[in-house]
Amino acid sequence: MRLAEILTAGILALLSIYLMWKSTELNVGYIRGEGPGGGAWPFWLAGIMLICTGFIAFNWWRRTSPPSQSDDVLLDGYGKRTLVLVGGGLIAFIGLVNIISMYGAMAVFLFYYLRFLGRHSWNLTLILSLAIPTTFFFFFEGLMRITMPKGLGFTEPFYNFLYSIIY
């Protein structure tokens, strides 16, 4: 944790500097008759962020914050595995949206999580993986009139059938 604390403070300091630099694309000073320039608000806020990272580093050096006193690692074996399996599953879920549609990706993700991470029965896995996207389809497309991504063209006949139920 100790190493992670100072590394994170460093990364956040770099982010603050980047935000300050990016803010200077607009005027960061006071313009007579117009008030503060468009970049002033984010510039000075990012400046305060940079000062805060300095204090975080100072507290790390004094060992006053709990993470700076801890010798534990940020992620142990279980943490890394969780991050890869759950985080990776989410990345794949979102990546699949533009290919097999939001509802298709949702079904695949639910199937993966329930069957392989949750170790639930085939029956429960299949029922939930199909029922939840179907319910969401009728709620969003039918009731709320919010259209979700439908993926590549091959999903069209399937959605045409579902839309014929709504309209």
Binding site: S23, W41, P67, L83, I94, L114, T147
Partner: protein, 506 residues
């Protein structure tokens, strides 16, 4: 007496069979729309606005007001049961509602939220009925310096009473404010902070993208990792006896928060451009400020649920006030309602009360009836929400992830935002592990779009002189309180050190 007569006429109008039916449908729809992450009252009202052309204007506005009420109640449900704020008005409810649910006390949180919402709604209805014209003029006294001072106070309550690492808290607030500034500069219209030149940032960063990323993704991965996968269910139970016991406990421990939320929420709600979100966040901060033991807040205190819930209901009634009396909407939802009224041929403004008394008092009467119905419908559905919590965690977790992704997309309908939400989620996971408080960032991204324009307008008014926040009669005291709160941790540290050195000397 005249007001009572008009109000009873209004209540009778809203008790007509068609209106009762519309209220019932409206609050139930609103409850579920509000409970869905990514959707709030504004979505419900906007989507169902065209349907109202099928009924008379009186019934139409009653229906929309019922949706508004239902959504205000519903926002708390996903905040408590899933840990994802259903709408910006329910962000503060997550702070204590979620810890209560995780400790197996979801029913206490849900019952407290329902009762506080009801009390907040009732108090605001009475204030609305009695003081409508007077309060409308008071609200107009609040200019940009006063509203910015209020925003400063909201941030100060988080710094002064956070109890967390102060530099990390301030960093979190500033990060949220900078994220709120992404998109376009409102005054010059120039693109601003288009990070890494990615076009998706042109439409700004929606608060829900950050909120769902932090609470729906980051917090969930943290929970799975932190509990080593050992939690299977939360021990949420529900019985009639339990509801009665939870009602008593919720009111005993949450009455102060309910009262603060009811009055403060109403007042912030009537301010043009403020609305229910700042009202609920500020009420949470003030409830924490006056609590006997502020450290219990954030860990599962019923007062932390009661204050924002009473406030968001109270503020939603309050935000109707400038809309009806002055024609100025106090929130996005009332802006749509205002549009509806114009389409129906009504002109909001001071003369509406005299020219269309049936409409105005029918609407006010419906507030009372909607509030009662919303409470009953909410209480009736609590067992369903509790049942959701009793699902195995390996079923609940993917459901929350799916809701997060769908909710993140529904908010802006842009895949860029879904990816951004995932980035925020991973970032929040690591920052959470290193004790960075993330609630202030969510608070800041919500209040940023109000804080920045009011600051710039104020400085323009004073030709760049920042003392405008101290010299104005209303802004001055609020700013001073905010500064004291910001300095509170330093004052505390100095006092503790002085006491320590005295004890050592003795």
């Amino acid at each position: 007496m005249e007001i009572l007569g008009l109000l009873s006429d209004g209540v009778m109008v809203s008790l007509m069979p068609i209106n009762v039916m519309l209220i019932l449908i409206g609050v139930t729809l609103g409850l579920f729309i509000g409970a869905m992450p990514g959707l709030g009252s504004v979505n419900g009202v906007a989507i169902l606005l065209p349907i109202t052309f099928l009924v008379p204007p009186n019934s139409a506005i009653i229906f929309l007001a019922a949706i508004y009420y239902g959504a205000m109640y519903g926002g708390a449900i996903s905040s408590i049961t899933l840990g994802i704020p259903g709408a910006s008005t329910a962000v503060a409810t997550t702070f204590d509602g979620r810890p209560l649910a995780l400790s197996g006390r979801a029913s206490l949180a849900l019952v407290t939220a329902a009762l506080a919402s009801f009390i907040g709604g009732t108090i605001s209805n009475v204030l609305f009925t009695v003081f409508a014209p007077l309060l409308a003029t008071v609200a107009l006294i609040f200019g940009p310096p006063e509203i910015f001072a209020l925003m400063l106070l909201a941030f100060a309550t988080f710094v002064g009473l956070g109890g967390d690492d102060i530099p990390k808290t301030i960093f979190s607030i500033c990060l949220g404010l900078v994220f709120a500034a992404v998109g376009f500069d409102e005054i010059s219209g120039a693109p601003r902070l288009i990070l890494f030149d990615i076009n998706g940032f042109l439409h700004g960063i929606n608060f829900l993208v950050l909120a769902i990323g932090v609470y729906g993704i980051g917090e969930m991965i943290w929970t799975i990792e932190n509990t080593r996968g050992e939690i299977t269910t939360t021990e949420a139970k529900m019985s009639l006896k339990g509801i009665v016991r939870d009602s008593k406990e919720g009111m005993r421990r949450g009455w102060k928060g309910t009262m603060i939320g009811s009055f403060l929420g109403f007042f912030v709600g009537i301010l043009p451009a403020a609305g229910a979100t700042p009202g609920s966040l500020m009420s949470y901060g003030v409830a924490k400020l006056v609590a006997k033991n502020p450290k219990e807040f954030g860990k599962g205190h019923p007062g932390g649920v009661a204050a924002p819930e009473a406030a968001n209901n109270s503020a939603s009634t309050g935000s109707m006030l400038p809309m009806l009396t002055l024609g100025i909407p106090g929130s996005p939802t009332t802006a749509i309602l205002l549009g509806g009224m114009v389409i129906w041929g009504l002109t909001p403004g001071p003369r509406l009360f005299t020219e269309q008394p049936d409409f105005v008092w029918g609407l006010i009467g419906s507030f009372y009836i909607s509030n009662v119905f919303a409470l009953l419908v909410n209480l009736a559905f609590i067992p369903l929400f509790i049942w959701m919590l009793r699902m195995p965690f390996t079923v609940l977790a993917p459901l929350i992830f799916v809701l997060s992704v769908v909710g993140g997309y529904a908010a802006t309908q842009d895949m860029h935002d879904v990816w951004l939400m995932l980035v925020f989620g991973f970032g929040a996971f690591f920052l959470r592990k290193l004790d960075y408080p993330l609630a202030p960032a969510v608070l800041a991204i919500v209040l940023g779009p109000i804080a920045e324009p009011t600051l710039r307008q104020s400085l323009l008014l004073s030709s760049g002189d920042a003392s405008i926040f101290l010299t104005r009669p209303i802004a001055g005291p609020i700013t001073v309180i905010a500064i004291i709160l910001i300095l509170l941790p330093v004052i505390k540290a100095v006092v503790t050190r002085m006491r320590g050195s005295r004890e050592n000397a003795a």
